[in-house]
């Protein structure tokens, strides 16, 4: 079992927060990660900023722009990860072109090797559907990294099977159509998606629009093993800048408590 999968097994309901590395400065990220871990994060997603984030909504687009303006690059990202001393598995979320261009020779191998050396536990690549993932999956397997796939409300039938054959660590359940960003309510699509994924042999974490403890509770009560939350943390960083650690920790704790509170009514998984 991978470190990420084990982190889900070690808790009743996992919290997976996302922040963009380098937002607002490269130096701020380490303290943010420690704060999220202290607040109860079980796995942390660190965004490696790409100039054309087509799967992200305005909140994370702006964070990515701040991080790029502050000088975040793939090399600095990997240095930053190497220097982190947290006990929580770290997942890099980035777009395919940055992985593909890394190193002196074009191709995915150099990035995956460097990511594993830096101590990352997995990758999420939102513009890489399962159809294009053969080479990256092979490289991740060779270096012991999980490759996390996103399952959308529109992912069904044979395509869903292909994703589930290939996913490891956890499956990222996209709560609704659209891009990342905080919303007011939990989507009905979440319940449908969790039902379709009942047979998955990896944990299911629901994201896209999760911003409150109550959302986390409802999602876990609906059967999820965890929640992913990004924009709520990115909003805090947008407001507090380099001084965001305390509030990140408080908000992480609220979401974690919400998630755990959802466990009691959770249906038994078949």
């Amino acid at each position: 079992m991978s470190a990420i999968h084990a982190a889900f097994e070690d808790t009743d309901a996992a919290l997976v927060p996302y922040i963009t590395a380098g937002d607002p400065t490269p130096d701020a990220t380490a303290a943010q990660v420690r704060a999220l871990a202290a607040g109860g994060a079980d796995v942390i997603e660190l965004g490696l900023p790409f100039s054309e984030p087509i799967a992200d909504g305005p909140t994370i687009q702006n964070a990515i722009q701040r991080a790029l303006d502050a000088g975040m690059t793939p090399d600095r990202f990997l240095d930053l990860v190497s220097g982190l001393d947290v006990d929580v598995p770290l997942v890099c979320m980035t777009y395919f072109n940055l992985i593909y261009q890394y190193g002196d020779d074009r191709g995915i191998e150099p990035f995956v090797e460097a990511a594993a050396d830096a101590g990352l536990a997995g990758l999420i690549v939102p513009d890489l559907p399962v159809e294009e993932s053969d080479a990256l999956k092979a490289a991740c397997d060779a270096h012991g990294l999980d490759l996390v796939f996103i399952v959308a409300p529109t992912t069904r039938g044979e395509r869903l099977e292909r994703v589930l054959e290939r996913v490891s660590g956890f499956v990222y359940v996209q709560a609704r159509l659209g891009t990342t960003g905080a919303r007011a309510d939990v989507s009905d699509q979440t319940h449908d998606s969790l039902a379709r994924l009942a047979e998955a042999d990896v944990p299911r974490a629901v994201g896209f629009g999760v911003s409150k403890g109550e959302h986390a509770r409802e999602i876990v009560a609906a059967g999820a093993e965890g929640v992913v939350a990004g924009s709520v943390f990115v909003d805090i960083i947008a407001e507090k800048g380099t001084d965001a650690a305390d509030e990140l920790e408080t908000t992480a704790r609220e979401l974690k408590e919400g998630a755990v509170a959802g466990v009691a009514p959770r249906p038994e998984r078949t």
Partner: protein
């Protein structure tokens, strides 16, 4: 056309192409691929007959292949202009927009979204949507809105909703990002009409097929007028839809040179420090990478971050290019060249003055290439991808900054 035939099933052109999109869009892209095969390739329900009839009656096809007398005597070879500027709307864009909006209608979609750079694709989509009674929303960068205002009014007149995009440099790249995000949200009832031979499969292949009427007509017209094939076909290349449209019918004719003229902007270089390229010459100086759903040649830095491109012509101002064109350039079947902003403006004025045709600034790049070209042969077809009415404000402004031989005084507008 072995690569292109293969692309109908795989979406790959050599190493290029593919489907690099968010998971939420994959089912829609599979559905579109299925519809493309049935309606476009197999003419199910008479789709292609319907499309061709509408191109004729609504669009005004065929467009003429016109012998340009002044240019021919200037250059010492015969120049034939393929007059896509005379297509309804004033550019080749309608060929694709009408095809895709009609396809969306056959697929039962209720709503159309589109991105636009110069506004030509946006206006063509708005016209096609009005013609076919579909709701239409167009995403356009704020910088492009300011330099292409006439097209903004035209889109609104046709009933389209215009959505300004203010992120980044406010040009086509950002408009495309935003349209893809919108599609990911509304994919179940909405079709995204991509305006060029870019994006995930099946768009590059499908858009080429809708645009290939340009070259198919030109080939038949050349046979009638010169008794055979032209020696060269020259077209400007931004994303590359007029380029592939003009070239596709000639790709297998080895005696015909195919020349893609890119926007050289103010120089063929990349400024890594500033994160910009003062040109839009991705075929000439780009490197392989992945943007907007496809692997292709891109203007990017060492890390893979996409650069801001530049051209005096909004319609060419894009950091990527169609994957099939990238492959044809690697195979040496298409020659990629570039023309800078100054030369394009000079060509704009030259055609306006000597042939009585005001070309689009995009097209002006193809025309400018004739000045220095060697070995184009006796008979040269230039694709006049669009007319320049939309560019008049930019041309007035840009002409005043320069000393252009033979340009009229623009002071009268002050």
């Amino acid at each position: 056309m072995s690569d292109a035939d293969a692309s109908e099933t795989s979406g790959k052109f050599g190493e290029y192409g593919g489907q690099y999109v968010p998971e939420a869009l994959m089912p829609a892209i599979s559905e579109l691929d299925d519809a493309y095969r049935r309606y476009v390739l197999d003419n199910e329900d008479g789709f292609m007959d319907d499309f061709r009839a509408r191109l004729r009656d609504f669009g005004g096809r065929p467009t003429p292949l016109q012998h340009a007398e002044t240019l021919s005597s200037r250059y010492g070879f015969d120049v034939y202009l393929k007059r896509e500027d005379l297509l309804h709307g004033g550019a080749h864009k309608l060929n694709n927009a009408l095809g895709q909006v009609l396809l969306a209608k056959y697929m039962g979609k209720e709503r159309i979204i589109a991105e636009t750079g110069a506004g030509q694709h946006g206006t063509a989509t708005a016209m096609a949507a009005a013609h076919l009674d579909m709701d239409c929303e167009v995403f356009m960068g704020e910088r492009d809105i300011n330099r292409q205002r006439p097209n903004v009014f035209r889109m609104r007149l046709n009933g389209a909703e215009l959505n300004p995009v203010s992120t980044g440099s406010g040009t086509l790249k950002e408009a495309t990002n935003e349209a893809m995000r919108e599609w990911a949200t509304t994919v179940e009832d909405t079709h995204y009409v991509i305006g060029s031979v870019v994006g995930p499969h099946p768009f590059p292949t499908m858009v080429r097929d809708f645009q290939s009427v340009i070259g198919t007509e030109a080939k038949r017209q050349a046979e009638e007028q010169i008794g055979g094939l032209p020696d060269s076909v020259v077209a400007c290349a931004g994303g590359g839809s007029n380029t592939m449209g003009a070239f596709d019918a000639f790709v297998d004719d080895d005696t015909v040179s195919l020349v893609a003229v890119e926007a050289g902007g103010s120089g063929l270089k990349i400024d890594e420090e500033e994160g910009l390229a003062p040109n839009s010459a991705s075929l000439s100086i780009g490197e392989e990478g992945v943007l907007h759903g496809a692997r292709t040649k891109l203007l990017q830095n060492q890390d893979g971050q996409i650069l801001e491109s530049h051209s005096v012509s909004a319609g060419l101002d894009y950091a990527g290019v169609g994957p099939e064109l990238a492959d044809l350039v690697d195979d040496d079947r298409v020659q990629a060249v570039s023309v800078d902003d100054d030369a394009a403006l000079e060509a704009f004025h030259r055609l306006s003055r000597t042939e009585g045709i005001i070309p689009a600034l995009e097209t002006s790049h193809a025309l400018a290439y004739l000045e220095d070209a060697e070995d184009l042969g006796e008979n040269v077809v230039v694709n006049v991808s669009g007319r320049g009415d939309k560019d008049l404000e930019s041309v007035v402004e840009e002409t005043e900054k320069r000393d252009i031989d033979g340009a009229p005084s623009m002071g009268v507008f002050e």
